[in-house]
Assembly symmetry: C7
Homo-oligomer: 275 residues x 7
């Protein structure tokens, strides 16, 4: 048992104290780094909120995400340092993290991709709650934009949950005036100038919906010329989300005008029906 005496207790104590000191320094560095990181994040979000006019809820979600990522990375570095201080090679830790990271890299890339896309969906203003949009070949009213999924309510009442990574080309139908477009097919035999005038006149009075129209409606001309049909196109600029009402009204007045016109012709030439 005399080897116990041969130990250099002074050196052991010194090592112990050094270790404790290093631990303290590591923890202090960790808290300082986290505090600085958080402040930088908070300030850049505050600045962004002011300059880019982001809603408070959105900037809060994004700030929380950034703070969490910072914390996880700092904790991982701290743990690795502590393991090293106790003389344990960090390679085991790193290898463990590597296997998990690799599995995440391959298996959960969808998840990471969702969050990255979601981050920009919240930061930029591509879609807002209440917008009428088409994304991933689904269209409806946006109900919620989250970090991982976006919820859209379809016309038939279905609620779509779309992972953000599937939201690539966004068609936002709620940004500015829309265009109503109606194509009318008339038989080839009809006189074209007359028909165009008839349609233009009919579109002059659209009743209640007139106030929804910003521009037009205008008959732009012959869109298609098949051997039996001539297609005439009518276009109007309307207020957002009222383009369908306008289109339906235009179709209705054109139909009525054509009915009346036909009747008047038939009355003029009663013996020449169904030509």
């Amino acid at each position: 048992m005399n080897w116990l005496h041969s130990l250099d207790w002074g050196a052991i104590a010194l090592n112990g104290l050094t270790l404790v000191g290093k631990l303290l320094i590591a923890f202090i560095a960790f808290y300082i780094a986290r505090a600085i990181g958080r402040r930088i994040i908070a300030q850049s979000f505050l600045k962004m909120k002011n300059t880019k006019n982001i809603s408070s809820g959105r900037s809060h979600t994004l700030e929380k995400l950034a703070t969490n990522v910072l914390s996880y990375v700092l904790i991982f570095i701290l743990v690795t340092f502590i393991a090293e201080m106790f003389g344990l090679s960090p390679s085991a830790l790193i290898a463990g993290a590597g296997v998990v990271g690799l599995a995440i890299g391959f298996g959960a890339q969808g998840l990471v991709s969702d969050v990255v896309t979601g981050f920009f969906l919240l930061l930029e203003k591509q879609i807002d709650v209440g917008d009428y949009v088409t994304v991933a070949a689904l269209d409806g009213i946006v109900e919620e934009v989250g970090l991982r999924t976006t919820q859209i309510r379809g016309f038939d009442g279905t609620l779509y949950f779309i992972p953000n990574r599937n939201i690539t080309d966004v068609h936002n139908h709620s940004r500015g005036n829309m265009r109503a477009l109606v194509d009318v097919s008339i038989p080839f035999e009809d006189n074209m100038d007359e028909t165009i005038k008839l349609i233009q006149d009919a579109c002059a009075d659209l009743g209640d919906v007139t106030e929804l129209i910003k521009e037009g409606p205008d008959v732009v001309g012959v869109e298609d010329l098949s051997s039996s049909l001539v297609t005439i196109r009518v276009i109007a600029k309307t207020e957002n989300m009222h383009q369908w009402t306008v289109e339906r009204q235009i179709r209705k007045v054109i139909k009525q005008a054509m009915d009346e016109h036909k009747q008047s012709i038939e009355e003029e030439t009663p013996g020449d029906e169904e030509n």
Copy 2:
């Protein structure tokens, strides 16, 4: 054999004791880390259960998964440490783990992807057992949501097993009221105002199904105007899962109204059949 005497038995004993001590510390650290990890997992799930209103079964499945992943990672780190203590380079272990990990990374990414997606399907409430949903171009009633696969019972009785990674865009038809939509094509010659009134009147009395309707039915107008047909659209908001019943009833009453109308015309002008 005198080299046996030259060995420094004191140093050997010291090394042995140090090794045992280190082993003890490693095991204790392992159990402490596991205990802390488990408690953190348990508490965060408890908190989540309360705030996000997750069912007990779901949170149990998720907690078990998180605990298992924690255990596997800690065991791997422990084994690597022990190998190092016995003077065995951990590189062989890590290389072995790396080859397995790489194979998993490439070959089993589908599996990892299933579990990651399944985790969020259970955590969030995108689909519940009993919901009528469309996922991966298959629709039916959800029978089970698991970590790896989700089971959906199709309308014809088929049971679909869908790996969770294939569940991206979820169409959930059981969240809120639905819309019934009926398009009626009428010949171009018919008077439109009359026809729209006829359809609107017919929809006023839908018999038994009236109580399933939340709003409407309303004739929204002329949806399409081809050279021979005019399409009129009728829309109604209905209770969930009863939209088809309502649609069928609307189609039936419109058909009957049009039959009656036709008969009344024919009775008035008996000599003008089949116009």
Copy 3:
């Protein structure tokens, strides 16, 4: 040759003995690890067999796979240790394994993916031999479920070999009752209430197949309303695999009922053919 005498034969002997000792320890550790691993695998499969009701053949295949993977990984680790003991850097071995592993990772990921999916196909009960299933857009009766491929016999007698990785969305048509669904198109001019009653009456007596029916058949209503045809839908719940027989019988009785009805009308109004 006097340098031969200068060698420290004691140290060489000691080294040799140490080497032999290390080798022994390595082999013993290898066998212990393999034995423990095998027992753990065996016990977990035994437990799984009892709780999840897996057939003996299936659990045997899976146990063998798990044991093989364990052995290969342990042998690789053992060889690396031995190489290190002889003073040979294990980097060459690991590099060799890495090149092979990388090639496997890229080129044979299909194979690994097959086995991983096959493992779960055997473990879970998504498909059983004898089930009528649709997988990878092919449908037929399952003849064999293997680790790498699944064999399905198509209706025309073709034997499909499907790599398990292609088996994602499984449509299993042999789990529970099925639904028979028949759509009947009738001319627009027919009276609808009468026709629906006629079809409902016809379906009341289906002869021999009645015992195959669990529920219905019920006429659910007007499914589609085109300008010239009205589509009526009939639905019935049937015993598994007899839905086609029921559908054919329903079609037959409806056809006969409509023929009889027509005849009776024609007999009543003999002078009004071909309306």
Copy 4:
């Protein structure tokens, strides 16, 4: 030049001898490892050949492949060891191998994938020379199954070279009896019971092809019921590769029976042509 004398020639000689000794050991280990590897490969193929009934040519091709892979891996390890012995760091060699390996991993994964799939195509018996198969949307008679490509002769005489990686879902039409399937469309007006009986009777006598039929032909019933046509399905189980002959014969006899039936009706009611 006096530094030449200061060299320790004894140590140099010892080093030289040690080097030669190590080289010898490395080469001996290489040859032993290769011999053992080859024997293991040879024996496992011999065993496989006996138990799985693989043709001699196939097992020879596979054995050669396995032996080559073994040799390349062992040679690479040997070269790395030798480089290390001469004091040259193996990192350059490994880096060179790594760059080549990475390029192969990305660029030639198709090749590796071909060989891995080819290995299993030869080992298992999914396709044999002479089988009539559908793979990669091409169908024909298999002419050759190789490690990298499979050759299939199409019906029009074209020779398809299909890389084995494209062979995933194999449709093998040469495993067991096939089914002949004929759908006959008859006008809606025809009496159905009579028509079914007519078809069933016609199928009773198929002339020469009767001996190719294993079961049936049976009229299974009304497959489709459109507003103008009724589709009747006939099914028969036939000998492999003769299903088309049987189908053509069934079509022919049904056509003739319907012609005769029509004639007999027309003879009975000569004044009612072309109804």
Copy 5:
């Protein structure tokens, strides 16, 4: 406490001073490297702006991106150096960066891909604000070209947000004159030389739109010859964005010419209507 005295304070002070010196050098090197990097970036953008005629806004955006990337890389290197100076192994830092980098590499490759493509979209002049383009199967007027997304206003008023990575094949319809193309189908019976002359004459006078035409319109000949129709093609080169106006006018004049021609024939042969 006498071990305190045994410390070599001189060496400690020297070490401290050396550390401070090294830190100073590191920071100075960092600032110099950043300054040099920024100047190089600024000068190369200035040069590019002059030679490639890039707008000031665009080059500013790109310069800011390049400066940011430079700063992040330099900061990462600086932090790693400082960690090393304090005796902390940089492996933990690098591992942390590696895990984040790997996650980014897999999950956020879309983001990086967006920015890289956006960089070249801004640098090169493939699309400018105001251009009429087709990208990713969407067409409209470019409203904004950003680093991550490009905004395009569709014809119906929808605003498309397209991630730059989806912008591969750019169809720019605003670079140079466009071609108007009209296909006219005439009945097979008409005399072809006459008809071609008729169309050519009609196109000679297009009224107001003549000034929009750069070349033509020319009848290029018989484009298709089906059994009942002959298709004649007319082509004209027009000013950018006016091709549709020209096409509509060409269709209109051809229709009118054909009407007049028909009338003149009918007047000549009044008794041969509707042949």
Copy 6:
């Protein structure tokens, strides 16, 4: 300046000489390795040329490629060794090579894939210059097979440049006899036995093209039986590349036979036209 005297010039000289010696050995080893490698490549290609009957041009192209790859790998290893000898860590070199290699691995995998596939296209005889083939959904006559691209001349004169990686399923239409296949649709009313006999007789005499036919033409029977048409199939085995001529001739003689047959019927029953 007295530290200049303190240098051990003897050791420096020794080091210098050793360095020169090592350099010499490295270069000699490099040249020997290259010479051996080239000889092995040359001999294996010579052997392959003799046993596999490869043309001289092809084997020359492949040999050059193999020699180049060998040289690049050896030069890279040599440079790394030399850098190490001068005390420069090879890590920088390897890192540089790694970055380039990684970029190549991701960006240029198409190129590597082209060369690997091209290697096997040249080695095996899947396509030869002059063959009529279908690859990558393009068909034409092969004009050139290169390491990176294959040139095919399409029927309309277009020259296709196809990167070899796109050449997966090769359809080679120039390997063996081809089959001519003609489907004839006849009205349902025609007597089938008569018609088949008529077609068979017509095919007996094909004029000049008879010598291009190896087998047949044979009427194989009723291929399809719709409600208004019966499809009869005729098959013949022809010389390569003459299948279209034979098909056209068969169609012509069948058409003429049916015309004559019709005429003869009409002559017999002159009062029953156009039934």
Copy 7:
């Protein structure tokens, strides 16, 4: 302050001088390597220009690219060496480069792929400015071939910017003579020999376009034989880019010949119109 005296200024000076010397050697080696590399590049391009007949502009672009890549790699190696000389571990630098490289590898692989493909598009002569080509399903005249994108002018005037990575299968319509192909559908009732002769005669005189024809036009025979139409194919070899003119002229003369033929028949049998 006496530790200042204790420093070995001689050694410090020696170290400093050595460092300066090493730096000098590193820079000199860098410039020599760059000069040699540039000369090798310049000479190989000169040789290539002469032997492969590449235009001066193309070879200049490629040479610049090769020189830039060389410079970047050499600068990276130089910086790493210098960092090492100052006792700074190069691992931080390499890690920084690795993170950037990885991000490039994943995010910018499209860019690298563009440049690699562009390199070969410039080097080989697959497409030249002025060629009429089809690439990436777009066709037009090539306006510019760049390292990153290729510009093609479509027929309607649109300018396509195609990233080079999308240019895989190149259809070059400007290499050699083209074939004009016209299919004529005639009614089944027409006599075929007469019709073929009529078409062949009509094609004998094509007026002005005759000089554009290299071979033909030839009537190759009956291409399709439906129950109501017979399709006759006419083929001619024409000068490049004039195939459409020839096709239109062939269609025109056939149409005229058939009109004349019809008229002559009608004149012969005036009482049998419209059969």
